[in-house]
Symmetry: C3
Subunit: 160 residues, 3 copies
């Protein structure tokens, strides 16, 4: 028997709309995994969010591969931060998907424990460029700058 | 040929469920765009989240149209805030959709840079009333009050 | 007439994929309701996020049922916190669903108003274990520890 053309159309539209919803969810979920991975010092999990040659450009530290990100998370500096007490929080991201590429923009904060008090050590603008890979969405480039009035930070918040 | 009634039912249920998921995602995405638009001083982008006659009522400043919101974002006060360094963060919102109307409730924080340190300048309760328009979901009314113990702020957090 | 096997397959795949998306959204929405319910002192709404015998283990206070959670939200301590001004913010959660069980991991912050200033009173690691019930997803166990360098807090951030 042949299939119904009307059903064919409706199913095709559902498939296309669902993929768009799944993309938003998958990217949101990827980003939500960053803070916990970093704050537990899990270098493999944190770096797995990037592509092999993905970049992470955060003031004064430009990582140019997943291995670079892994090394950052496994660094003595990050261990000291965890030992003192730290929380990396990413706000909900505005995600724009265009085929197999996407841009996500959000705020991030780092709260640290200092002498028994919690203080906001950093507050920044984040821009993620992402790609759909065989393993799902991954970060191709992340740029973070402190929102301290620098025009460079403000520019990261631009729409895709 | 006629279509299968069983498939017809399943496709109709999928269409209805997917629309509900898309509504949650679309409203979440709309709200996630506010902070970045405000923190880069993009008056057109920030105000485009509202309907033409949408309202924004934030302590002592009651805007009554998209143009009013645009003027607030373009104001010297907002420019000074950006120049000093500011981050507007909205927490994940609890979204309740009822047909073509919705209510979203969440917390918001404003972190500013003061003399090289980041401090929480404001922390508030947010209530968004939204409408489905031809251009997608838009804000019909947003009310924000500082969570400083005021009963008015607490009341904004009520369920839809 | 018989139904088309090809459509049958595509519809079944859509149903399965949509359920996965709905699970992510439903759990995210459940968690987004916690802060507002707590900050308005709504003991019924806050406790309704848990199963009847759900647990909430937060430093030094181990609640072992929905009634225990209700009593915590209705306690004089929580009323005093609200009267002074408080914002409980949960960051976006990394959610892992496995059939009818799920784990969600995220950061949480408590901002309070002290003498007219807003300060981060607490910043912690959250681990939620959830179950799909007849009433939807509910919290079976939530554990929170301050991210102050304690290994116990860091361990909560582990992947599902």
């Amino acid at each position: 028997m042949s299939t119904s053309p009307e059903h064919d159309d409706r199913i095709a539209r559902l498939e296309s709309r669902l993929l768009a919803a799944e993309d938003q969810l998958a990217i949101g979920r990827l980003l939500a995994g960053y803070g916990p991975a970093l704050d537990r010092g899990d270098a493999d999990a944190a770096s797995s969010l990037w592509t092999d040659d993905g970049e992470y450009d955060v003031e004064g530290w430009h990582m140019r591969s997943r291995d670079d990100v892994r090394a950052m998370v496994a660094s003595p500096q990050q261990a000291a931060l965890i030992e003192g007490g730290c929380t990396h929080l990413l706000g909900p991201a505005r995600i724009d998907v265009d085929g197999d590429r996407a841009v996500a923009v959000c705020a991030s904060m780092l709260v640290v424990n200092r002498d028994g008090r919690f203080v906001v050590a950093r507050s920044g603008a984040n821009r993620f460029e992402l790609a759909r890979t065989d393993a799902g969405w991954r970060i191709v480039r992340r740029t973070v700058r402190l929102l301290d009035g620098s025009p460079e930070a403000v520019a990261l918040l631009a729409e895709a």
